[in-house]
Assembly symmetry: C2
Homo-oligomer: 152 residues x 2
DNA sequence: CTATCTATGCGCATTTTGTGCATCCTGTGG
DNA sequence: CCACAGGATGCACAAAATGCGCATAGATAG
């Protein structure tokens, strides 16, 4: 599929506000509403738009603590086990296997410090595969772009 | 605002699929469509729903490389300057000031390794405030929950 | 038990969507 | 230079979705 500057603008606009009406989209990108509709479904069908989500307020819902945690595993054969652990625990919002000092980086979201300590000491550290854990607790979010900057 | 189990279910559903119709929502949460509409706008007005976004395919758009980078600053008086730097660079998707080994953690998204090296060596390291940078390059995303797990 | 106040469902007017169709570009071959 | 094919675009309209008024059900307090 070919993406021109119109599609580009549509992607950018919808990323910022996914509830935009085709008419509103039309104003922004200078096309008719119908054409925006067509292009939009094309972008969806092509998989460039994976879907739409409501952004929820983490703080208002009581998820006050966020931490970036690096994990090193003991052996390097049974990662499946650790992966299952991650999937099973909703406190782990995102998880990446990485190249660097650590083996994994986890994005953890919990209610408060107590819940965090609980998770680290009673769940993560006791896991047989886990060798070493280092955390950075988020004090302030300076930037949190949901989605991609298409200009980058 | 009081949030009951209906709101809970609505938030959860909309987080997964923000383009759900009120009728579809109604089926999931066992309410009428009109009531879903009312509750939805209430949740939006209360700020529990911050907005809606289209999720774009990072890979299909050519953002192949992701890295989690920890940054230490030299002094601790002029953070404003570094914050401006972060805001100005779209390669930095998210940025957090943290308590831990590092002062900041950045979530970086770029096209490829070359763009990454470029950013680190030509942009980040030359910044006068930056003392030390350590990166973990993401090999695989094991989990990437957009949004919150309301059960956690 | 009753009065009150909120939550809910139904119906309908308004808005939004998306498709058919005619027109308009764009580039290609004569 | 012109004719033509293919796609992109806008307009119009039918189908769908939204959201508000209104009457009722359910909960709560006295």
């Amino acid at each position: 599929m070919r993406i021109d500057s119109f599609d580009h603008a549509i992607l950018d606009a919808l990323q910022r506000d996914g509830s935009m009406t085709n008419a509103a989209l039309a104003e922004v990108v200078n096309l008719s509403a119908s054409q925006c509709s067509r292009r939009r479904t094309a972008l969806e069908d092509a998989g460039l738009i994976e879907g739409y989500s409501a952004r929820l307020s983490a703080t208002k819902l009581g998820f006050g603590l966020r931490a970036i945690t690096r994990v090193n595993l003991r052996s390097h054969g049974q990662e499946d086990d650790f992966s299952q652990f991650i999937q099973a625990h909703p406190q782990v919002r995102s998880a990446f296997s990485v190249a660097g000092d650590a083996d994994y980086v986890l994005d953890i979201r919990v209610r408060d410090l107590e819940a965090f300590a609980d998770f680290i000491h009673k769940k993560l550290l006791p896991h047989p595969q886990v060798a070493h854990v280092r955390s950075e607790i988020v004090l302030q979010t300076l930037k949190d772009r949901k989605g991609l900057d298409l200009m980058a």
